[in-house]
Structure formats: structure tokens, C-alpha cells
């Protein structure tokens, strides 16, 4: 051993630490693009809008469309349903939100049809479906009840059904996304 002096040893230590640091940075920079490639690709992100003609939905009926691979519920609400949604005491709701905040036009409710509990699709789109205790939607997986504004009223789901970004590009056409 010829390198007993302290200077040499500390230089080696410093070099080795730098080498280890470079190794760690290299490994992370190699892994990063591999993992990032699993995020949505550019074409997936670009396909973010769906246009729906709602003129064919009669009052009281609903329609389900796909947006970003998820079902979107479009409900043409009756005056009674609107009345029912708006007469609720907001402070009594688990996820406090007024019906007015959830719709752009009172007769059209647009929500993402995915239960906020664990991701099932609630029933209630057809007249013959189960609508739950609050005349809206009912999630068969774990028994969450949604009202006519698709707000959670009973059951394990923590949040109201989510409202997607959308706009009316004419009186009868909705652009989602």
C-alpha cells in the first residue's frame, strides 16, 4: 500500500462519492422516460372532446355518451326533478353543493357516470332502472344513492358525481371537454 497519506484517501472518497452520485442520477434519468411513457400519450390527450346532439332526448329521459373512455350521463330533467334538487337543505348534504352550481341550464344535468366510491357505473339512466332512495342514481356495487342533481345522499361514496367541463355550442349541441 503506497497511498497511506490522508490527502489521497480523501480524494478517493470524494471521487467515489461523485461516482456514486452520477450512477444514481444516471439510473433515475434512465428510468424516468420509461415510466413517463406510461402516462397518456399525445393522441390520447388530443382526443379530449366529444360533441353530443341532445335534441333527441325527451324530457325525463337520459343518454349515456363516452368521453375519454368514461360514460357521461346527460339527463333531460323534468320540472319536478329540478324542484326536488333545488329544495334540499344544502347543509344537510355530505358533499355540499347547490344544484345551480352543477348545471348550466336547469333542465340539462351533465355528469360523469362513475361512482365516486370505487368507480362502478351507477344505474338510473333508464326509467326501469333502480334510482335509489333519492330518485336519481343508485350504485349497485356498494349501495350509494344519488339524487336528481347526482349528489351523494346515502352510502359510502364521498363525493357527488363529477361534472365534466362542457359547453353548449348551440341550443341543442353540447361539447364535452
Amino acid at each position: 500500500m503506497s497511498t497511506d497519506n490522508a490527502d489521497d484517501n480523501s480524494r478517493r472518497d470524494f471521487l467515489q462519492m461523485t461516482g456514486a452520485a452520477f450512477g444514481a442520477v444516471g439510473a433515475v434519468s434512465f428510468a424516468a422516460p420509461l415510466i413517463n411513457s406510461l402516462n397518456p400519450a399525445k393522441d390520447t390527450l388530443a382526443l379530449a372532446t366529444t360533441e353530443v346532439d341532445v335534441s333527441s332526448i325527451p324530457v325525463g329521459e337520459a343518454k349515456t355518451v363516452m368521453w375519454r373512455g368514461k360514460p357521461v350521463f346527460i339527463k333531460h330533467r323534468t320540472p319536478e326533478e329540478i324542484e326536488e334538487a333545488r329544495s334540499v337543505e344544502i347543509s344537510a348534504l355530505p358533499d355540499k353543493q347547490a344544484d345551480e352550481e352543477r348545471v348550466q341550464k336547469p333542465e340539462w344535468l351533465v355528469v360523469i357516470g362513475i361512482c365516486t366510491h370505487l368507480g362502478c357505473v351507477p344505474t338510473g339512466q333508464k326509467q326501469s332502472d333502480a334510482h335509489g332512495d333519492y330518485d336519481g342514481w343508485f350504485c349497485p356495487c356498494h349501495g350509494s344513492h344519488y339524487d336528481t342533481s347526482a349528489r351523494i345522499r346515502k352510502g359510502p361514496a364521498p363525493k357527488n358525481l363529477q361534472v365534466p367541463p362542457y359547453e353548449f355550442i348551440s341550443d341543442t349541441v353540447i361539447k364535452i371537454g
Binding site: P33, L34, N36, S37, A41, K42, D43
Partner: protein, 438 residues
């Protein structure tokens, strides 16, 4: 493994694990203190380099498989989607594409190093044979991987290579139909190739494990080709060779990165950017570069072998080519019994070294011939003649020259030990340049 004395570790967690499953003892023995000849040159880096490339191929391959679809109507589009739409997809695919080439570069150097320094000789025969198995598995994996993008070269390369099996007498056609799962290379072929392309790398990994295990039984060969005689001839693997290998790997990766980022399609063929079309064959079907020497041997046999002066054909040209091509690799399996000369390293066998370097040049020349069209000429001489001559030398080297040299080459005197040879070298170096001595 697992038996015998365990090491002691200060860290209680490591000690707890090791007393139940002695992986740390194994690591310590096989990669920590493992006695390694002290006189390796940089050619001994290529085992570690090949290992890194295998890991790189498996990791990038798994991610690519997550974005890929094996279907003749979708595969080309799926690969292009990776190149254009998937985040960083082009990088992953180009790494995988060029990684295959650089894996082969590393492995070819590794193989020829083993031949030059006699690393295949007793007691390392099985280690060598496992290496040849890895090489064959690599060729199979690379070939079916090239089919997956479903470009023109994918389809027609697969067609030509699978058709080789039709040369087998009697059962050839049935074997080809079985390989294809139909009557041409089509969707069933593509899907099974994808399944195999995902499977085979892990088989390679398993054989690599056996290869390294066998290496650690016999210990490494070295440039002098003489056995280690004691601690003065060896160094612990860590830190001496871990650090040297890391440096070697990084230099190799520099070349890999240079090609991957600045000339990613240099080693590929433009025709594979044309979607596969079963109605149009490309003008020149060329395999990937790492197959070219063997492809040239295949094409070199253009004549039937039969009973002279009759019409009876025993081996058709087609079958002859296939036999020659597979024979060229099969010879590597029996290399330890073809070259039985007691001296391992070519350093002490001038005759062997000359013939071997000619073989390397011959192999490279075969690669060049394989890349040219069948009717090409060089200096006015048809390349097919040169291909036949080069093929002849290849076989003569293994079948005749090696056994003859084994019996007749005298060889130089071997140094008595690695330690002494290293000291000798140091001395002569420091005499030449005094300031180099510390």
C-alpha cells in the same frame, strides 16, 4: 450455494436476512472478495457490458410491449404510434432497436476474445458451451424481434428464414407450416413470435446465470492463459474489477448513445419503414448486420452434392446451405475438442494467432459478402466465388487447422506465474518511462 460458512455482517438487518437466506454471503463471495486474475485487459470488460445490454433490452422491451399490439393490421401502426404519440416512445424504441446491435457487438467481441485466449479450454468447456447456447438464443430472439414491427423486411426476412426449415428432407414443409400456423407468414406467426420474443430473453437470463455460475466454479481465464497459483496472482473482484467494468460499460454506452441519438437508423434497413405487403418482395432482402456472416455462408452453397457422373442428388444446394449455416455455429459447440493444444493464450502460439486473425478477417469479409446482392462483384470477381472461398476457410480453420495445430504447434515458453509476468511488464515499462513509476 447456500452451504458452508456464512460471512458475518455488522448491519443487523443484513445479518438477520443473511442468516435466513445467505444472499449477502453469496454476493460477498461471488462479487466482493471473489479472487480474479490481476492481469485482465479491457477485452475482459465485455462480459459485464453484455450483461448490462441484456438488462437494457429486457427493461426497454417490457415497456415497449405495453404499447405494442401484435396484429398484422395494427402492428406497424402501433410501432409508429410509439414513435410519435407515446411520451418518449421514440427514445425507448430506438434504444431497443440499437441496443440489439450493441448487444451483439459486445457478445461478438466476448466470443472472439474467448477464442483468442483459449477461454473455452479445459476446464471451461461447459462454460463455453453455455455461452454458445446464449448466442443461439440471442439470434433467435433478435430474429423474431425484427418481425414485430411488421415492415417489409420483417415479413420477408421471416419468410426467407423460416423457409430454411423446408430444406429438411421429408418433414421440412410440415415444420414450416407448423412454424407459420398457416400457409404463409401471417397473423398467427406474428402473435406467436411476439409471445416468444417476450419469453426468450428470460430464458437467456437463466442461461446467463448458469454461465456465470460455471465461471465462478472454474474462475476466470486471463490474457496469459495460465492458471492462478495463489493470492499473489489475484485481486478481489470488488473494487478492482467492479470499478474497471463500470468504466468500460460507460465507454461502451458512449458509442451506443452516439448511434441511438444521432444515427438511430444507420444499422437498420429503410424497407422496414414500409408496411409489410405480402404481394411485393423488396429488391434486396438483407438480414440484420449481426446475421450477415452466417447469411453469406448460407448463400455460398449454390451447388448440389451428389454421386459424380449421375443425376443423383444427395444434398441439394438448398439443404447444403442450411447445413453449412447451422454447421458454422455448431462447430463452436465442439471447439474445446477441436483445439486441444495445451497452451490456452494465442500470445504464446504465433501460428494459431496468425490463422485466428485471418479467421476474424474472414468472418468480417463474410459479413460484407452477406450484405451485398447475390450477383455483386468485387474487383471484377463475382462475390459468390469469394463467398465460397471465405466459407471454405472458415470450415478448414475449425475442422483441419485447429486439430493440426493442436498436435504440431510448438508454442512459446509460458511465464511461471501471473504475478511474475505482471512484475516483469511493470519493470520493462518503468525502464522505458521512469516518471510512470510511482
Amino acid at each position: 450455494m447456500g452451504s458452508g460458512q456464512r460471512e458475518q455482517f455488522d448491519n443487523p438487518v443484513i445479518e438477520w436476512v443473511d442468516s435466513r437466506l445467505p444472499v449477502f454471503t453469496m454476493m460477498q463471495r461471488e462479487y466482493g472478495v471473489f479472487p480474479t486474475p490481476r492481469n485482465f485487459n479491457y477485452f475482459w470488460n465485455f462480459g459485464a457490458i453484455a450483461m448490462i445490454m441484456l438488462v437494457l433490452m429486457i427493461v426497454t422491451g417490457i415497456v415497449l410491449a405495453m404499447h405494442y399490439t401484435a396484429d398484422v393490421t395494427k402492428s406497424f401502426d402501433a410501432v409508429e404510434r410509439i414513435m410519435r404519440e407515446v411520451n418518449g416512445g421514440w427514445l425507448i424504441r430506438y434504444m431497443h432497436m440499437n441496443g440489439a446491435s450493441f448487444f451483439f457487438i459486445a457478445v461478438y467481441i466476448h466470443i472472439f476474445r474467448g477464442m483468442y485466449y483459449g477461454s473455452f479450454k479445459k476446464p471451461r468447456e461447459l462454460l463455453w458451451i453455455l455461452g454458445v447456447v446464449i448466442f443461439l438464443l440471442m439470434m433467435a430472439t433478435a430474429f423474431i424481434g425484427y418481425v414485430l414491427p411488421w415492415g417489409q423486411m420483417s415479413l420477408w426476412g421471416a419468410t426467407v428464414i423460416t423457409n430454411l426449415f423446408s430444406a429438411i428432407p421429408l418433414v421440412g414443409d410440415s415444420i414450416v407450416t407448423l412454424l407459420w400456423g398457416g400457409f404463409s407468414v401471417d397473423n398467427p406467426t406474428l402473435t406467436r413470435f411476439f409471445a416468444l420474443h417476450y419469453l426468450l430473453p428470460f430464458v437467456i437470463f437463466a442461461v446467463v446465470f448458469l454461465h456465470v455460475w460455471a465461471l465462478h466454479v472454474t474462475g476466470s481465464n486471463n490474457p496469459l492463459g495460465i492458471d492462478t497459483k495463489g493470492p499473489q496472482d489475484t485481486l478481489p473482484f470488488h473494487p478492482y474489477y467492479t470499478m474497471k467494468d463500470t468504466f468500460g460499460v460507460l465507454v461502451f454506452l458512449l458509442f451506443f448513445v452516439l448511434v441511438t441519438f444521432y444515427a438511430p437508423n444507420m444499422l437498420g434497413h429503410p424497407d422496414n419503414y414500409i408496411p409489410a405487403d405480402p404481394l411485393v418482395t423488396p429488391a434486396h432482402i438483407v438480414p440484420e448486420w449481426y446475421f450477415l456472416p452466417f447469411y453469406a455462408i448460407l448463400r455460398a452453397i449454390t451447388f448440389d452434392i451428389g454421386v459424380p457422373f449421375t443425376e443423383i442428388v444427395i444434398i441439394s444446394a438448398k439443404l447444403g446451405g442450411v447445413i453449412a449455416m447451422f454447421g458454422a455455429i455448431a462447430l463452436w459447440f465442439v471447439l474445446p475438442w477441436l483445439d486441444t493444444h495445451p497452451i490456452r493464450s494465442a500470445r504464446f502460439r504465433p501460428l494459431f494467432r496468425t490463422f485466428f486473425l485471418i479467421l476474424v478477417a474472414d468472418f468480417i469479409f463474410l459479413g460484407y459478402i452477406g450484405s451485398q446482392s447475390a450477383d455483386a462483384t468485387l474487383f471484377g470477381i463475382p462475390l459468390s466465388y469469394m463467398g465460397l472461398a471465405a466459407t471454405a476457410y472458415y470450415f478448414i480453420f475449425f475442422i483441419a487447422i485447429l486439430p493440426w495445430l493442436s498436435r504440431n504447434e510448438k508454442g512459446r515458453d509460458l511465464p511461471t506465474s501471473i504475478h511474475e509476468a505482471v512484475l516483469e511488464q511493470k519493470k520493462s515499462k518503468s525502464e522505458m518511462s521512469p516518471e510512470a513509476a510511482e
